[in-house]
Assembly symmetry: C2
Homo-oligomer: 210 residues x 2
DNA sequence: ATATAAAAGTTGCACTTGCAACTTTTGTTG
DNA sequence: CAACAAAAGTTGCAAGTGCAACTTTTATAT
């Protein structure tokens, strides 16, 4: 996980705070972060703590869109996650940096080398985020659980070029990620195993067909 | 559909061509655009014509990820669509502008007001694209066709605040968009109609519950 | 106006999936 | 290490969905 301030000294980071008129807000567990940022074109960075972006469905269910941790960047105007119609809630003591979007894209700032590092870091985080989202879309587009799993394997395989895929999360989280029922996913994994396509050992999945 | 050159005069556009050393390539129907841009960090803009971004699945199926039309922007390093492992194919006579990504983010260019307009336009296109993708993820995450449809309606309703939703595409394209079988989607639309939730007249859907 | 193609609309059926209700295993905490 | 919680693993069943194979309607072209 890279940070928007990677490669910058303490002093340079403070200069950026000044340059962009960064506002620092602290929230307690359960606090809503959104009233402070909604409306304005503002970019948020979590400096410590964690929060979740969620929204209420038409039927009243709360859907967690994303979890924000240290160094996460969010905001509706910086191509990260659609914050509109969402609530952002602190999950613990959390500090958030808020930056006016217009100051961020003010070209005058680009004459400062340390600002360019910061801006490129931000762009990089956005880029990574978007690539991840596109990967997930490829999986979600598949109609059947088997195809979603195979697409997931394919994407992970290309990243490491290794038949052994180590799940970065629990199996139940994989079910959430590919958006299918946990038991049904498990059943399908079992079938893939029985048919000799894969082998599973805890969080390690081996692709027998590669 | 906005263009990266919106708000710029012919002369200013030519200055941008010079500034960024824009390369202009022409392709015939069926030509692969990708060999020219792959590897390098390059941003593409379709100046006229159309193309499609597709990839070959593990089972040999070709999946069309996206259609590019006039003014579409693409490229793996500008947060648009993950072009890696994909093929870009011209669907007709097509002209593409290719820009070196590093020149695009060169801060020296930002001293030119016309470049800032261009850059902001690009950022805006990226932003819109990402919001659209996030919308789609919200729909694709739903497990049942009914929930996908209702989520789609919800999103469209919030955009226009009108019970009448005009589909911007054919019903079969809606099925592709929410990634379900066309007939199955139709059946579900019929059920929603029979249960009084919606009314359908061609491409106009009226939400009776709003 | 007629031919042709494309989209809309319909239906039956087999298969897939979500869901609930478990048991078993693994991990965590005082 | 006992107690508890969380995750993994299993199963039956009802409901949902994909798919194929249609018919009907609408759009497009000559």
């Amino acid at each position: 996980m890279s940070s928007a301030f990677d490669g910058l000294s303490r002093l340079q980071i403070e200069k950026i705070y000044d340059l962009l008129d960064v506002h620092i807000y602290k929230f307690n567990k359960g606090d809503a972060i959104f009233p402070t940022i909604k409306g304005g074109n503002i970019v948020g960075i979590i400096s410590y703590g964690s929060a979740s972006i969620s929204y209420i469905e038409y039927n009243g269910n709360e859907i967690v869109l994303e979890n924000l941790n240290k160094d996460s960047v969010f905001g509706s105007n910086i191509s990260l996650i659609s914050v509109d119609n969402c609530e952002i809630t602190a999950k613990e003591n959390t500090e958030v940096l808020l930056i006016d979007y217009n100051k961020l894209i003010n070209p005058r700032n680009l004459k400062y080398p340390y600002f360019n590092i910061f801006f490129n870091n931000l762009f990089d985080i956005i880029n990574t985020k978007f690539k991840e989202t596109n990967e997930r879309v490829r999986i979600l587009e598949k109609k059947q659980i088997r195809d979603k799993l195979l697409e997931y394997f394919e994407i992970e395989y290309k990243k490491v070029l290794n038949r052994n895929i180590n799940l970065p999360f629990a199996l139940k989280d994989l079910a959430d990620y590919i958006s299918v029922n946990r038991s049904a996913m498990f059943r399908e994994l079992k079938h893939l195993k029985e048919e000799g396509f894969i082998d599973i050992n805890g969080k390690r999945i081996t692709l027998q067909y590669k």
